[in-house]
């Protein structure tokens, strides 16, 4: 268990102790902290892109040292995609289902005992889960896709700069590994929604109040949850009218997948892919300033692969 045994009564968890992540400024003998996989072509929907997604995901993770670096035998893993909206995969409002399915398969091959796939979406879950294609793809890969149980949102001590306490889904702190799988999208309040914003999908309560200080609250959440791995889907990205989108003209193919252990670096890289300066995004700048990660992702010597 990541945070020690938790009874269902007292759920005031303290943030996880820092895990065995390499120091951002470590020399190269350490396995890479960041990998960027880019597909040489841009195959057509739907089959071409499915194959692309699978290959990009596998290569990006292999470049980091393989899934066994992040998932150990017998682990319970939560793969947390963006299933926030009642949208089709082509509309790039939700994570690419084949990326999710591939990650699930890789977790099982690395010895995971159980892989959960779930999200607390903005549109009703029973609508967004199947329409995004993630429910079907994940179930086919053997994951346990769950609709969140209201009873399991518990008040937890976040002890952040802005958030002291918040309702967090119990399972996310009880599983052994959390893998954050966002999709890169434009967002008119914070410019872009990437990994740290995607973590809003494991909390409950009046989440719509966090927008009054996204810079502070998202860093608090990210520091509390500390996902073991972040896999940013930038195969299709939403360049305008995000995070809901809807217009296919706003979807652009970037054919890229980013994987990393540094939440700030992955988000910074994602921001540049969307055409934004990482410093101009509040939670990235604050994450860097508070030591959560490195905004200068190049300093991590990312491994770039062409697939």
């Amino acid at each position: 268990m990541r945070l020690g045994l938790l009874s269902s009564h007292a759920l005031l968890a303290t943030p996880a102790p820092s895990q065995s992540n390499p120091h951002p400024k470590a020399p190269s003998p350490q396995p890479p902290a960041l990998s960027i996989a880019h597909y040489k072509s841009s195959p057509a929907e739907p089959d071409g892109i499915a194959e692309e997604a699978r290959r990009l995901t596998r290569q990006a993770i292999e470049a980091l040292g393989g899934m066994s670096r992040f998932v150990s035998k017998g682990n319970v893993v939560w793969v947390k995609p963006d299933i926030g909206w009642d949208r089709r995969p082509e509309q790039a409002a939700t994570t690419n289902p084949d990326v999710v399915a591939t990650l699930v398969e890789m977790c099982y091959r690395a010895g995971a005992r159980k892989v959960l796939v779930s999200d607390n979406p903005c549109n009703p879950a029973r609508l967004s889960f199947p329409r995004s294609g993630i429910q079907q793809a994940a179930e086919k890969a053997g994951a346990e896709v769950i609709f969140l149980d209201e009873r399991k949102f518990k008040r937890m001590s976040i002890n952040g700069k802005v958030l002291k306490e918040w309702q967090v889904y119990q399972d996310v702190v009880e599983v052994d590994r959390l893998i954050n799988v966002p999709i890169a999208k434009n967002h008119n309040l914070c410019l872009a929604t990437l990994g740290m914003k995607n973590l809003m999908g494991v909390i409950g309560g009046p989440r719509n109040r966090l927008h009054q200080d996204l810079g502070g609250t998202l860093v608090d959440l990210a520091a509390f949850l500390k996902p073991r791995l972040v896999v940013l889907d930038a195969i299709r990205v939403l360049t305008a009218n995000g995070p809901v989108g809807g217009n296919l003209a706003d979807v652009k193919r970037k054919d890229t997948l980013v994987a990393g252990v540094d939440q700030v670096a992955v988000d910074a890289l994602g921001a540049t892919l969307l055409g934004y300066k990482p410093e101009s995004i509040g939670y990235i700048a604050q994450g860097n300033a508070r030591g959560l990660g490195a905004i200068d992702f190049n300093s991590l010597a990312p491994k770039r692969i062409e697939v």
Partner: protein, 345 residues
Amino acid sequence: MAQKKATSRVVWLRRVTQTGFFLLFCYLFLQTVYHPINKAGRGVTFFFNLDPLVALNSWLASHAWVGAMLLSLLTLAVTFVCGRWFCGWVCPFGALHNFFTSLRGGSARQKLQVGSYHPWQKAKYYALVAFLVAALLGADVVGWLDPFSFFFRSLSTSIYPAINKGLVAVFTWIYNADPGVGPVRLTLVTEPIYGFLRKYFLAAEQPYYWGSMLIGVLFITVVALNFWRARFWCRYVCPLGALLGVVGKNPLVRLKKNAERCNNCRLCLVNCQGGATPHNPLEWKPSECFYCWNCQSDCPPQAVSFAVGFHPDRGPDASLRFAADKVPSGDRRPQTAGSAPARAK
């Protein structure tokens, strides 16, 4: 209490059929949800399609109707021939009232008092006339009292949300309190049950509705009124019952009584669901009869039966399959011939 004989097979068949349609209604109710991707359950409006009152009112008020409503012609056709069989065998709301009426205890005398025909049963016909006239003028408000609308609306906006809230509260309490001894915890049993309920019965999210209190109170009142008068709604209020009563007022399948066997015990009246005064075929009210067959089942000398034809009397050699149970051999009396009316008793 007078001697009670075993319930006839027909009555058991009716109960099974009523229960079946009731469960079907509940099943279709639960199916009226989102199915991936963006589909409602199939055939969830089945009962509304069967309902001739809905079809008639829609057509009167809007001069249009929906293809599926043609199913209601089937209901009308059978009612034409067999009277208000629909109320006795099919209607799930009627089954609910039937059930609550049967919960009411009491002696045969008490049941007679509350179960006999009452002239106020005519109220539903006047209500029907009012609704139809209003519909003719464009105001389709029969939905307020149409039995399926009333039942479905009460379930969807009031009863089901309340049941959902109660069940979730119970399972949440158990989950949080986590009672048990050592490794043996109650949640080991309740959590799988809760998972099953979440998947097949409970709502995805707790629903809340404006106006649910009034709708819920009306529903509970109507159901509770069965303790005051047998099948209160069906007899006094239901406009669909009234419509079927009008259409079925001259059925081909009629009540018969073997006048020689009848000992005037009046047991047939005690459990009559519709208040149709079955003790005398010439006074029997086809418009109120639900064809529940209780009279036939309860009649100790097996004098009562239902058969095709207009002769009020019926001898032991009943040819219709659902007529009285087999007569013990040795009791064959000659039939009274001709059209002489049975001796009124």
